[in-house]
Symmetry: D2
Subunit: 266 residues, 4 copies
Amino acid sequence: MSFNIILAGSRGKMGSEAVKMINKEPTFSLVACIDHKNGPSTTQEVQELAGKALPVYTDAGRCFQEVEADIFIDLTNPEAGYINTKSALTHGLRSVVGTSGFSNEEINELSNIAVEKATGCIIAPNFALGAVLMMQFSKMAAKYFPDVEIIEKHHDQKLDAPSGTAKKTVELIQETRKQKQQGHPDEVETVAGARGANMDGIPVHSMRLPGMVAHQEVIFGSKSQLLTIKHDSFHRESFMDGLKLAMNQVGQIEGLVYGLEHVMDV
Amino acid sequence: MSFNIILAGSRGKMGSEAVKMINKEPTFSLVACIDHKNGPSTTQEVQELAGKALPVYTDAGRCFQEVEADIFIDLTNPEAGYINTKSALTHGLRSVVGTSGFSNEEINELSNIAVEKATGCIIAPNFALGAVLMMQFSKMAAKYFPDVEIIEKHHDQKLDAPSGTAKKTVELIQETRKQKQQGHPDEVETVAGARGANMDGIPVHSMRLPGMVAHQEVIFGSKSQLLTIKHDSFHRESFMDGLKLAMNQVGQIEGLVYGLEHVMDV
Amino acid sequence: MSFNIILAGSRGKMGSEAVKMINKEPTFSLVACIDHKNGPSTTQEVQELAGKALPVYTDAGRCFQEVEADIFIDLTNPEAGYINTKSALTHGLRSVVGTSGFSNEEINELSNIAVEKATGCIIAPNFALGAVLMMQFSKMAAKYFPDVEIIEKHHDQKLDAPSGTAKKTVELIQETRKQKQQGHPDEVETVAGARGANMDGIPVHSMRLPGMVAHQEVIFGSKSQLLTIKHDSFHRESFMDGLKLAMNQVGQIEGLVYGLEHVMDV
Amino acid sequence: MSFNIILAGSRGKMGSEAVKMINKEPTFSLVACIDHKNGPSTTQEVQELAGKALPVYTDAGRCFQEVEADIFIDLTNPEAGYINTKSALTHGLRSVVGTSGFSNEEINELSNIAVEKATGCIIAPNFALGAVLMMQFSKMAAKYFPDVEIIEKHHDQKLDAPSGTAKKTVELIQETRKQKQQGHPDEVETVAGARGANMDGIPVHSMRLPGMVAHQEVIFGSKSQLLTIKHDSFHRESFMDGLKLAMNQVGQIEGLVYGLEHVMDV
């Protein structure tokens, strides 16, 4: 089985990794790109990455009409991504979208179109399989270990703390964790902030140092034992295994799936 | 709901922890002990731990006939444990057994008795919930990460390497891992042993140092990412949460369950 | 060479470990205890630990007059410790004191007495050799790595955060670290506390979970590299190697030394 | 103070990082390159990196005669490096050389020339400051912790195990460690290799997984405590801080220094 692919966002950081990955996989074939700001020079880079001449469209609708394909991949941004994906699904094209920025309303609308057109769509806020597993395992472990803290570590150019992944992990843990007051009731911070950010009762700590890339540890404690689930990501190349998985799964589903964990066997 | 409990092995290391735990839980009540070598002094220690006078039997059968109970716990050894548990199940008594030493034949026989008597039995080779979760998560992760190594760390008085937990983890990983040749095909050990014990293609490394207790890390790697699942156990007290779980679950099952993971929601 | 030892604080947690340690070492011999609240039962415990009958004094001065000894060890508290040590040094007795609670004034006074009496005194706020080395190495590394964060982890019964060891580590690092503003100047905490306690510009994070004992990591980062120095302490038994070292060194020094690092070769 | 620099090996992996680093530092100025195989295209890349036209010499001797410089840097290989450095020192040019491949004879000869010409030379087998500190701290810690194991982790394309850094670390530890038989005397490997490579009595374990780059942990254990010193290197960019340090120190020394630790304050 082999798949013809249309890619939006091919000049971006994630997109250019995707072009390389598709090019390496014998079952994937890139047949067109969508790039609403494409110019001759940037297109050339993509052509070089793909190792062949490719039509590059500024208009998504026209692309889907003119080019026969099996899968549409969107690695742009929430605004362009929503427009592109809506158009792809309306054309009955199976779609894989990498974003955490869609509103619930947008997701519902895309879901309705996918069902109506009897096609499939996977939206993944995170393509790193290891990060997805870390979050799922944390959710499972929290059933048995209500005492938990998170430490996430990123390079010192990151602006926000805690990270989005830490926040998402807290949300997932809260689905299964028995509510409890952690720590000693009389515990005192002699310097403010020592005990981290309190997120629904779970302390989250954010380190920022040069040399770090993107790391997170979820640590569960109970009497005389600790269970730690840790993920290290060193480069956006780490997202490609998850993208590949989504591309191979999107043919099997009908309707919209939000989150890679729902097409994984965990 | 409250449970009356008969305990075999109450003078042992695990057993004495169990007496303390049972004593603390308002829903558990220790009603008798089985101790085929008991003498007045040792019995006294157990009485003190339990905070009350307890009949101590040398003969398991007589104990099960004379004492009304809800759960039998065996924390002895494979030989005594087999005899005790067979007798308990024959009396229709729900049983929780902590051992990794039963043969398949013995397990089958106990299973048949449990089914016949419409009662339940849980045999757990490992009561540390964190260790059980580490192994289950490793099995799940191996579906997506075929490249994996294990490092286990124990105090320097441990005689065998690799540890039983490491061996069990390899077995579980092999159930889901796509067979592959790890490392570089031309890789060379310039000092023998550097690349660890090769267990079905998975390298296992054993550290032994004073100051260590019982620790294991399972590390999965793929392009630009690592997923690590780690368990630290500092004392046999860490087994008590799992024993409690088994005691609370053994009333819900019919027949024999081998391994705590089968009564957990993972 | 063998040493006769007088110990104050023999019934305390540290003291009882010290009795066991002294008893095991062939070159050490416990000859008397000072215990201003001793009663028959508690004294008996110490006798059992020491494996022999021992005079126990409530009055330190009388003890130093009546008992010939080589080393005095104080493992009591800052108040009793100051009185005992002053008396010991005045009697010309070499002293090893485990406390972080003396004032500068008290230290100066003890130092003057030690010099005057041509004897030696070692006061150690921390007897764990690994913790002392962690702090010294951190001080050395900070010369070359100005970007640093600390995470310390303790059991969830600890009341104060950050720990005393973390505070001491920050102090030592500041002695050598080139002042700099760490992290991104525009970095924002979307939940307060995420970036930890700011101690002189160094973020310190405190975890508190059951299962933890006493752990600290000092992490230094620079372009594409991280250097981590970590200490784990599982039991106060870990202080005994440092106490032994101090006992063996106190005969070599004249005057007062504050901190084990000054009698170590680092 | 500003330095004019001649660089050999500018087209190599380390060399091209060095060109970028020199270009960023206001006090460094690249004035010529030595490249015995240079051609127009490759030279162009270096010119671009350096942001200016540069003379590129195939002959080291001619370069040193024609170009006025303060420091010579060699990042080639042991053969070319030896010839280049000998020539540089003979011209009285202070030299920084990155290699672990020189023989003792070669080092002695270069040392003699440096002394004779009253100039300085630093040869560094490792420019990663964090790795150098890890090794020095390990040497210091081993005085107090004779029980130690090493685990080093690299990408799965590395051919040899254990790594050169692990071997070097063992050597340094042996200089201070009291000889002892680690582990239990009756310990048994049920699968060969579990206990790692035995290097002078110190077990060394080598992990190889995709996703890893270059990591090492040195773990010291004693009663109830562990001290861990860990270094992570994610990219050869991590060598630049050490190179810069050597360039700033080579003006202060007379004669030859082997190893960055000797110009560091540890």
